[in-house]
Symmetry: C2
Amino acid sequence: MSGGSGEPGRSVTSRVLAVLGAFDTGHQELTLTDIARRSGLALTTAHRLVRELEGWQALSRGDDGRYHVGLRLWELGQLGSGRLREVAHPWLQELFGATGENVHLAVRDGLEVLYVDKVYGRRAVPILSRTGTRLPMHPTGVGKALLAYETEWFIGSYLARKLERPTPHTVTEPGRLARELASVRARGYALTYEEMTLGSCSAAAPIMVDGRPVAAVGVVLSSRRARELPRLVEPLLDGARQIARAYGERG
Amino acid sequence: MSGGSGEPGRSVTSRVLAVLGAFDTGHQELTLTDIARRSGLALTTAHRLVRELEGWQALSRGDDGRYHVGLRLWELGQLGSGRLREVAHPWLQELFGATGENVHLAVRDGLEVLYVDKVYGRRAVPILSRTGTRLPMHPTGVGKALLAYETEWFIGSYLARKLERPTPHTVTEPGRLARELASVRARGYALTYEEMTLGSCSAAAPIMVDGRPVAAVGVVLSSRRARELPRLVEPLLDGARQIARAYGERG
DNA sequence: GCCTTGCCTTCCGCTCAGCGGAAGGGAACT
DNA sequence: AGTTCCCTTCCGCTGAGCGGAAGGCAAGGC
């Protein structure tokens, strides 16, 4: 028994996606062997797929022979949720100009927030959130802002799970978190203090289009300057409204 | 003769990529039938592939049933040339702060420039270059800056082709273009006046790492304000140097 | 009402594209 | 010379994938 038609029950497409899926934020450069291991494919199979993907510039090889995600995939990715970023960016820029703080744009993806754009200066607080980063919803400003405006059913099932607790300040007790989400709805914005990382705090507002939260804008700053947050709320809410209006048109 | 193993000589991978390739800047939303037509696949085949890709969120379906590029692909794409963008962004931001003009970051891809990041305000000149846009090299500032520092062989073969001429101001005559590239090398930056679009002009500088042009920064402004360009050159060159230094470390 | 036109979806039998074990090669350490 | 990493090529077996045909479903014309 040598060869045969491979492990049954997996489509070729799934194998291609498994190869691509081997790359993530922590593994941007992989050897062929890494890819095979991480995707669960035989070395030979991974080799062929990688070569084909390389030919299309979906993957490319660095000088050291390691593979990384190619330009063509980046280019393709730009087409995804492109309009939101394009519409929102000038307003993020404006908000950055008005506040001088790190400004973020995030959308919900499953049970997490995905950071899709950000504007920040050179003197910014070091932050986790590269664009493309995923974080849980409850410890982040943008996450709370989005979660608060989801359906009751969604919020219920979110709170029913065991929630991660990245810092001692993270609110994970369902009752207290539910009350906090209610106050987010009452005020129209969310606040966090050292819930995701020690040393930073944030404010965030949802971007509501047709009564649904399509994205959220947030500012992050050093927690030593937490008392400056209230000053940022007005421009933040204004920015969120402007983006919602611009995005709602011809959407 | 019904069925069979499909059009021979095409790998499954190539079919997957053909489906993805059906999407481009001008076609961000496609029906299944569109995808089949544009990718040259049978409807049934396209259908199956699209379903599999949808399951992985590489594609997703809008409310109107049309497909568009999904979040997961965008996320994957973020891993491509991520370090360059991450390192360069704060400096682009700085440059925007110092000049108030549209700031771009671009890399060479084949015979074109690919815009990978940009910073711009709300009052910006309307511009062609979304991130993910491709443009030819010779009519753009960033393109000239990159082309000038390529190998002699590359420049030769670039000039040997028939060059596009998007405006009457575009320089396409090989001799003149070669002289212009020489003066770019002499000065260290490139200038354009209405060569890509009427109404705008630009200045751009290469980001040199280990003697190779890895990217270029550029500013674009209204051609009525062309006389302000010299004022922007110093911050531009400085920004390019800073990015080169930061990118060169631990590269 | 009925026909047409445009989509999307399911069914199914034929076949070759793809699979992976085995083997070979090369570079960098010990 | 031995060991341990990688990467690459070869090749025979087979079931995953192919696409024509047929069915559904909604919107518009008459």
